[in-house]
Point group: C2
Chain length 329, copies 2
Amino acid sequence: MSKTGKAPTMKDVAREAGVALGTVSKVFNDIPVGESYRLKVEEAARRLGYRVNSYARGLRADKTYTVALILPSLDHPFFALLADHICVALNKHNYRMVLDITKSDPHAEMRCIRMIEQDKVDGVIGLTYAEDLQVDENLPYVSIDRFIGANIPCVSSDNFGGGRIAAERLTALGCRRPLFLRLGSDVPGETDKRGAGFVTYCQINGVDFGAQRFIDRHGVEPVYDFLEACYRDGKLDYDGIFCSTDLLACQVIRRLRQLGVRVPEDVQVIGFDGLRRPDTGEYYCSTIVQPIQQVAETAVYILLNSASDQFPGFMSLPVTYAPGGTTRE
Amino acid sequence: MSKTGKAPTMKDVAREAGVALGTVSKVFNDIPVGESYRLKVEEAARRLGYRVNSYARGLRADKTYTVALILPSLDHPFFALLADHICVALNKHNYRMVLDITKSDPHAEMRCIRMIEQDKVDGVIGLTYAEDLQVDENLPYVSIDRFIGANIPCVSSDNFGGGRIAAERLTALGCRRPLFLRLGSDVPGETDKRGAGFVTYCQINGVDFGAQRFIDRHGVEPVYDFLEACYRDGKLDYDGIFCSTDLLACQVIRRLRQLGVRVPEDVQVIGFDGLRRPDTGEYYCSTIVQPIQQVAETAVYILLNSASDQFPGFMSLPVTYAPGGTTRE
DNA sequence: TTGTAAGCGTTATCAC
DNA sequence: GTGATAACGCTTACAA
């Protein structure tokens, strides 16, 4: 009914209710108004199926209640979970989330930022790799897992602490010669600290250790080659491995078992992320669990309050260790 | 530089370039304009860092280049992958995607739709469960995996065909008494046809079969109970199982192995979805693979062209079978 | 308290 | 081709 194809406006509601335009506006902005008027307006609005036009409102108020999330992809449980929690957290604050996927391409990341500037969102949460990400000073921005600049807040898990815990667990569980293995992007990020934490613990405590870093662009083969090179006389040179991600840990474990190395009997392995199998909910391996939901909620909180308060430029959230069958607990 | 805190407008650009406001507008809308003017405008815009205000444009043009995606969650690889592909497909068409997560709550689904109507998006893609989803006639809507109404396009995989293929494969691989197991929502959806396809094939070909359906709200325990009830004298009553999802297949396989039933030696199992392990990229089990990317791209295509053309109310996309180690290939 | 009117930044319609 | 001017739907002083 009513003129289909054209949404009713405040003017229509005003006419229908027999009140002035401004009165209708006030009703929809919770500004006090005579009770009889309020009722007339609400009734008329319901009859007409009126909804506030958020574009007109956004134009006027220069506020859109929209936040953009920039992510490499959703094709990885960590990113997917992060997006899920960020979306829910934003909705809880009555914000909506627009998602931009970059496939880790720095060029795409820049394009996203440009698009977003034009799309007039209220803020951006980004997990990016571009070395020189230029983001408008006036656009609230929170970075995840990557420190971009002194005036841009960054939220991440306590990667350093996680590395330390991993080293500590491995040695506590009897490892005499643990190894750190890393497969990741070649652009520096917070996650690099996982190795730093591990190395630092070992050095402080006089633990003999190894550490190898590989670039994911080259694939996982170099890691396998390295493992084979460490495999002599029927045993590995190391009795414990801390992998920079659960995925890498899975791949390493797989390869070790192919080589005839038993996990966790001969070599204990700890990953990082705390991902769970979709079917059983179990961890893929013993792991340092990231507080994904907290990271999400913290990022949202900081973003939404970036105007009012001043936050530390960097927030690192506590991780926990969880046994997952690849250590001798 | 420039008056920070206030984005430059077309008026500013016009003044800076020494041309009329309308001319600036034309330049940014690719409407022919004198070459010298175009250059002056572009130069001025660059100097000022001008960007078109999409809210003002949206208000005027009643077009927002925004599409909403309604999904139960991202905490399942199928949904995450779907969202990923839909987002990429939309961006390719210069649309942006706002994501709404409902946690499968019909009430939340309705709230989403209401929000979206107010947010003036150009269209909606939804994977929902609400029984009586009321969606505005004027708002282009494409449903995924659920037929909502005659005038609402629905895109899904060929669930019926997938069920048929599963039955066919199992029998071709030597099963004499296959079983269909389903664990899912109690609201009817396209995915129910997986069982229908399986049953139909068996009946037509005179295959002795079983079929049991369970509601996911009750958890997976009832399925386990059923399996145990089927387990007598050291063997299962069935020699093949088609599960309605890969997840269920994994759980069933796990339980069977606990009972001492060997997979695929004693019982062959086929799942549905075509999910892959994040570490190795392998299928979790032998499975009917959904063409997720095609579903995504088709939904986007139909949505963006829903105004111009008339599409069939229902599109089902071809699935394929992939061995995954739980069948005797 | 209620009504009026002036924009917010853009696009589209016309005279020039 | 160019350049005033009137909408688009809403908010907010300000006047009544």
